[in-house]
């Protein structure tokens, strides 16, 4: 008797599966190459000459059966995604296959496979995902247990030669209702044809009882959904069904043979006509005729003696062939299909995540990426801060600036080029945002051309409504972002953003430059109502005993533009961004107290630390000394920008309050009590001067 040849599964991998694999590799698996449970599915062959493929799509990672079309049989699989090409090559394929075959055998022995036939369809998918070049190498294995029963099978005969048209329609209806009760097509099932010719379809687990009650093998059949369309051969699922006969005493010992149906009946479809867009009815699609069938029946001859309970599993085969019909992996190259923006985004993600996998597992890239940053000032500092934020994967960056790009700007301000200067009317904020989008199309870069109203810069009646609008727009911007960077070039222009950040409890970071010195400072977050008020950190204005005033008056040319050593802005901007990222990793985030580098471990507490390092309050640096020093300054209760008095007055009177601050140079000092303090100090000084002269006339001041 010629031995039966089985048509292997044709595996069909969707691009969606590979991109989902890439995504999960980045977000979940990291460097882990532990096996992952996936699922695949196939439909029976039907009418076509083409084998029905075994599909693994984007939904393969979902558990259960939801999302799989109901005509498809679901099979459980094991995904093994290795980290290197060498791992892929060197992995012991035989052992991997044998391991899964062992599980299949155990499920057969325990009887589990009778209840859940799909367990006999377990498959393996070995992959290597080269995420940097979007090339995927994959290799399927469909483990099949090799049993002698295959040698005792007769060549397939057409189902039509065994069943009448009526019986075949009953078979289709029985299969449809079994599918309906289970919610999907069963991979394996049983068929009973009683002596009167009545046909019944039931689950695989019904076979043993049906067989026991039958008089001849013609009355109880085993059946499987066959992806193979060939009239001369059965498909791969039959192999493990035959192995099941070795594992379990399903077929009565005395039976000379058993019939197995390779089910390939067409779908019943429907009789109703299709609609047509322009109202023409089309003839209905031909309803599947009873004779239109590719199903075959295979008769397998005995003996049917189940192996002993502890019998080892038979040898297994099943690694798939590649396109040249050799056992080997296949490759899918998606680099051309992936659109460049998606490529850029995925590559940026990968670089940042590599940092986490290789160096710092605590790194929270998602938290950083999700932080929206408002950059007040799109000059040298704004450009440098933005680029550093991009580097960290920050996706939402908005610039606020009222200026236009000037010819002197591009050499220092890294987001601008000569082209931006031509015409002299390109707004800086817009140009900077456009540059960010050119650098990385996935960034959400925004721009607002807002003049920042400043104390000591009086507002005329004509300007009043514009200034009020600008202040309100700036407030909306502060509200809409998580972190506010203060990057303007005068002291007084930082006042309103400082106040707004305090009023809305946003983290604010100031960067300020001298000629060769820098300060980077995070503003203390106003305490939450419940928290103890004690140790809040100060803001940029807290160390001052004078209110912000117009510093632009009586300046010479060299004083009117910020003159600093060109490297300074980059150093300072980078420090500011790194401070922000470190803070985002601190359990208390913006509310964290300053922990100075070199601080006593015990003093700062074990629990409140950022894995990235210290979270100083201010960093002061000097280029001549090539040194930075961390300092801490507490909030000042008479601060003109962040004290409760000012914040409350702003909350209460809004724009009216701001107008007073802009128009009167002494308003803020009067409000906060600084004026009074000055008077007291003067008095004290006079008093002490008096005392000093009374002693020995030494002058320590």
């Amino acid at each position: 008797m010629a031995s039966l040849k089985f048509q292997p599964f044709t595996a069909a991998l969707d691009v969606g599966f590979l991109t989902e694999l890439g995504r999960r590799k980045l977000h979940e698996f990291g460097l882990s190459d532990a096996p992952v449970e996936i699922r695949g599915s196939y439909a029976r062959a039907e009418r076509h000459e083409i084998p029905s493929p075994f599909c693994v799509g984007a939904d393969a990672f979902l558990s259960g059966e939801a999302g799989v079309p109901p005509t498809m049989c679901v099979a459980p699989g094991t995904l093994l995604n290795v980290n290197t090409l060498e791992d892929f090559k060197e992995l012991d394929k035989t052992r991997l296959l044998d391991g899964i075959a062992q599980r299949i055998w155990e499920d057969m022995k325990s009887g589990e496979a009778l209840e859940r036939g799909e367990l006999m369809l377990r498959f393996v998918l070995l992959t290597f995902a080269d995420l940097k070049s979007h090339k995927y190498i994959y290799w399927f294995a469909f483990p099949a247990l090799v049993v002698p029963a295959a040698q005792r099978a007769s060549p397939p005969v057409a189902l039509a030669s065994l069943l009448s048209d009526t019986q075949r329609l009953a078979l289709r209806e029985g299969f449809a209702s079994l599918s309906a009760t289970r919610g999907r097509a069963p991979a394996f099932f049983a068929v009973r044809v009683d002596a009167s010719g009545t046909l019944e379809v039931g689950p695989l687990s019904a076979f043993a009882d049906w067989a026991a009650a039958s008089h001849t093998p013609a009355e109880a059949w085993l059946a499987f959904c066959d992806p193979c369309p060939l009239l001369s051969n059965p498909g791969w699922p039959l192999r493990n069904l035959l192995a099941l006969l070795t594992a379990q005493q399903l077929v009565p010992r005395e039976w000379p043979s058993v019939r197995i149906l390779a089910y390939r009946e067409p779908h019943p479809g429907a009789a109703a006509p299709a609609l047509h867009a322009d109202g023409l009815g089309l003839p209905p699609p031909p309803r599947a005729a009873a004779g239109d069938s590719r199903s075959v029946v295979i008769e397998v001859h005995g003996p049917f003696d189940a192996s002993p309970r502890d019998a080892p599993p038979p040898k297994a085969v099943g690694w798939s062939l590649n396109s040249s019909n050799k056992a080997g992996p296949r490759q899918m190259d998606l680099s051309a299909q992936m659109d460049p923006e998606a490529l850029a985004e995925a590559s940026v993600d990968l670089n940042l995540r590599l940092m986490r996998w290789r160096l710092m597992p605590q790194l929270d890239n998602e938290a950083v990426a999700a932080t929206s940053c408002l950059l007040v000032g799109a000059g040298t500092l704004g450009c440098a801060v933005a680029r550093c934020l991009l580097g960290w994967g920050v996706r939402t960056i908005t610039f606020v600036d009222s200026g236009v790009v000037a010819y002197s700007n591009p050499v220092r301000q890294s987001l601008f080029t000569f082209e931006d200067c031509i015409g002299g009317d390109t707004p800086k904020a817009e140009a900077a945002a456009a540059a960010l989008r050119r650098i990385f199309p996935c960034v959400h870069a925004g721009a607002r051309r807002i003049g920042i109203p400043m104390p000591g810069h009086p507002v005329s009646a004509a300007e009043a409504s514009q200034v009020g609008e600008d202040a309100r727009e700036l407030e909306r911007m502060v509200e809409a972002h998580d972190v506010i960077f203060l990057l303007t070039d005068t002291r007084e222009s930082r006042w309103l953003p400082t106040l707004l950040a305090a009023a809305h409890r946003k983290l604010a970071l100031t960067v300020a430059l001298g000629f060769d010195s820098l300060v980077v400072m995070r503003h203390g977050m106003p305490a939450e109502p419940a928290a103890p008020p004690a140790s809040r950190l100060g803001c940029y204005f807290c160390n001052d005993v004078v209110g912000p005033a117009n510093s632009m008056l009586r300046r010479t040319l060299d004083q009117q533009c910020t003159v600093s050593r060109p490297g300074l802005a980059m150093v300072a901007s980078a420090l500011a961004v790194e401070l922000m990222v470190t803070l985002l990793h601190h359990p208390r985030r913006g509310a964290a107290d300053a922990d100075l580098v070199g601080d006593d471990e015990a003093a700062s507490g074990e629990e409140a630390k950022s894995p990235l390092g210290g979270v100083p309050h201010q960093i002061r640096g000097s280029l001549p000394l090539f040194r930075t020093t961390c300092m801490r300054g507490s909030a000042f209760d008479r601060c003109t920008a962040c004290s409760a008095t000012v914040v409350d007055a702003f909350r209460e009177k809004g724009v009216e309050f701001l107008r007073s601050a802009f128009n009167s140079s002494s308003y803020l000092e009067d409000l906060t009590g600084l004026t009074e303090m000055h008077r007291e100090t003067e008095a004290k000084l006079e008093e002490m001067a008096g005392l000093a002269s009374e002693c020995d006339g030494e002058d320590d001041f």
């Binding site: 969707d14 691009v15 493929p53 005509t71 006509p273 056992a327």
Partner: protein, 205 residues
Amino acid sequence: MAHLSPVAFAQLGRAFAQRSAAHAVSWGWVEGESTGPFSTPSVGYLRSSPVLVEEATPHEASHEVPTDGGDDDTLVGGASGARLELHIVYGATFGVPLLLVQGYSSAGELWTVSEVRSHLMAASKEGGAPIAADSVSQIEHPALGVPFASLHPCRTAEWMGAILQRESGDAPQQLDYLSAWWSVLAQSVGQRVAPADARAWMLSA
């Protein structure tokens, strides 16, 4: 004009998948998921069982004996075909369902958009409702983020409006929009699909 809300699309999509079991092309409903704390959950989509098609340039199957992996009982060689994967997603811009198509060669390689286009033009002609070349373009799958060919939906709301009105008179809300839509669109991918019960897309109110 007849538009569909995302919520209605999801409801109809689930029911559509459930009813598709009797058809050669059956559908699975994949639930939408939330991709992050700041994004709204995606709508979910329908995916078809594979649609097998004759390959334009058949892959030359060799008949070599496998070196390993199989055994004497493994059949080697034989015909294999190309396949289409169909997805139905919610087109937010037009407020209508969107048919997305991916084609794969028998060797498992993804078809280009122009390969999909020429296939659809031929298949739709055969199906009796030829489509124009410019109605097929490449878009990104809203849930999967991978490129698919799409049939342009710009007139969908218009002809759906006409169908719904004709078929249901003055109670268009009782019609299953999605089934009616698919019974028209199926012809563009060479499928002759009729709803399981002609009035199944009349929702039993």
